[in-house]
Amino acid sequence: MRDPVRSPEGAGAPGAEHRRREPEGRDPHYNFAYLDEATKRMIRRAILKAIAIPGHQIPFGAREMPLPYGWGTGGIQVTASILGPSDVLKVIDQGADDTTNAVSIRRFFARTAGVATTTRTAEATVIQTRHRIPERPLREDQILVFQVPMPEPLFRLEPRLAETRRLHALADYSLAQVKLYEDIAQQGESASSYNHPVLVNGRYLMSPSPIPGFDNPKLDRNPALLLFGAGREKKIYAVPPYTPVKSLDFDDHPFAPMRAPHPCALCGSTTHYLDEIVTDDRGGRMFVCSDTDACAEAAGRAGAAR
């Protein structure tokens, strides 16, 4: 039966075509992965610096890309700089491989770098993501590249970059703590549901990018290298493997990740993050996994068990 909520190029039924190399290969009109080598070297230096100071934002000379700002230009530049010809690339947006922007970015690298692409988390060496961390635990030989709209975790509290730079230097995060205190005092819990700030290695407050709070615990001591690229804001930051990452909270009000209290309608998972899909105009709802690959895997397991 045709899956009602997945388009054909998503991670579909087990055994479907999930990995491919563009038949036409790399576009010879552009350098490998689009950027010139000097630019990639500059970005790799920023990445190394970022890894050396976990959670600290490194300014870099972000280039104008052929995709618009806000579409993932920071993530694309980071991916372009770390990609090698033997890498296997996975691109997700909202957890899914088949969302329009994920398709577009995957095609961009298939065309300009000619690398193999996949929808399977387990097969990928580099995963570029917008707004999610895959459900399947990552490994040491994998790199997760986040697209970041606003790298500054304090920007809603202090918009001036010269001032936030000073606050980071002093590790003065009282603004964020007072905000959290006020939320709890006024409504009993933190008001932030996504992009909840985290403290990296006990030192720098960091925006985890707009991932749901559900994904925040996955940042902590993750075996994979986590790289964050913000193109418009021209910043790169990183969480090296196994780095402690703690969501901002209070001892008596510990951080509480949230998830819709339902099983997935497709695979039955009770642990994956869910998308809520409106099925009619009479209040009908259906909940399905946001991570299309994890959903297909779980559905395969459930099918095999039956």
Binding site: R63, E64, D93, P210
Partner: protein, 367 residues
């Protein structure tokens, strides 16, 4: 059907095909040529070159055609192309004093050496729709009359004031290569060359509004147009391999120098200060707005109080770039359902808590 929202490759292909057809429009109407755009929509080409930070009329015309006349989209196309080009070396400073002038006016003097040259301006036209233009195929207009003597040397008005000691001298530029906004991220506080670069590629409408606000009391400006000039200037390079300067061609630029009174502070006596605007092509509105905003942004260096939006360099410089701004505003069209889902769950949780609290006292009262 939800599949349509998730899009996928087939949907993208179809959308691109539709876009191509919409771009061409009714095929019975003749296709627009790049030469037509470049010649007859010349000011659109100029704006795209200025905001696209790339002086190439042909490419700007192509970008306008490809963008269906959306000038911000066209500037974006030009920038995305520009980023792939190698960068050789900074040019020598343009000598606009030696400009081949097409237009030059000063609002501060009735007459001045070199005279007032109106040039091709809308300024004194009556804005009445010319229905004769709607009838195509008219013969080209006769050539405009030319001055008999040509124009003599045109000293800069700012120099006339500076010679009298009334104009604040600009601090000498540093010998180091100028900063390059396209290679290095903006840093704050931003030195003036960096600010001017950001303003030069900034959105005309944004700078116009900010410049206007300084005239209406948000920034305490009392500006005069000391000089506005439009013309061709030589671009001179000094390639390291040669070691001497060579001319590589001419570009058309619009330059505006605004004069502003300054009360003086500390050692500095009361004097005039200048705001500077320079734009590729014929872009007077842009050059003037830029000059107003440049002067407002000098508040910090001159020890003036920073009170108005136009004086706030982070606010101005980080929001003036229309390619950045349009990207971030329009990215809201991308799916955000994962974040929205967490907002839904959060709101439900908070509401459940509030409702439980509201219900509790009532239960107590009932006891």
């Amino acid at each position: 059907m939800y599949v349509a929202v998730k899009g996928g490759e087939a949907a993208i292909e179809a959308a691109h095909a539709w876009l191509a057809a919409a771009r061409r429009g009714d095929p019975s109407v003749p296709e627009l040529g790049l030469a037509q755009i470049e010649q007859q929509l010349a000011l659109a080409v100029d704006r795209v070159m200025a905001e696209g930070s790339c002086h190439d009329r042909g490419l700007a015309a192509l970008a306008i055609k490809q963008a269906r006349g959306d000038l911000i989209e066209a500037a974006f196309l030009l920038r995305a192309y520009r980023t792939t080009l190698p960068r050789f070396t900074p040019a020598e400073p343009l000598d606009t004093g030696r400009m081949r002038v097409l237009r030059r006016i000063s609002a501060t003097y009735k007459d001045l050496p070199g005279g007032q040259v109106l040039g091709p301006t809308f300024d004194y036209t009556h804005r009445l729709l010319d229905f004769a233009l709607a009838a195509e195929g008219a013969p080209p207009p006769p050539p405009a009359p030319e001055a008999e003597s040509g124009v003599g040397p045109m000293p800069r008005v700012s120099e006339i004031l500076a010679a009298e000691g009334l104009m604040r001298r600009e601090p000498a530029g540093e010998e180091a290569p100028p900063p390059d906004l396209t290679r290095e991220p903006l840093r704050f506080p931003a030195p003036r060359p960096l600010r001017l670069q950001a303003l030069a590629r900034g959105d005309e409408g944004f700078l116009l509004g900010l410049g206007y606000s300084t005239q209406r009391g948000y920034g305490n400006a009392h500006p005069f147009v000391a000089e506005l000039r439009l013309g061709e200037v030589e671009v001179v390079l000094c390639p390291p391999e040669l070691g001497f300067p060579i001319s590589i061609g001419e570009v058309t630029v619009t330059e505006c120098q605004m004069v502003n009174q300054f009360a003086g502070a500390g050692e500095a006596p009361p004097q005039f200060t200048r705001g500077y605007g320079l734009a590729l092509g014929h872009s007077e509105r842009k050059a003037m707005a830029m000059a107003l905003v440049d002067r407002a942004l000098m508040a910090r260096e001159l020890g003036e109080e920073v009170l108005a939006p136009a004086q706030d360099e982070e606010f101005v410089l980080l929001h003036a770039d229309n390619v950045e701004a349009t990207g971030f505003v329009e990215h809201l069209k991308l799916p955000h359902h994962v974040d929205f889902q967490s907002e839904l769950e959060k709101l439900r949780s908070i509401r459940a808590r509030v409702e439980a609290e509201r219900a509790a006292p009532r239960a107590e009262a009932a006891e």
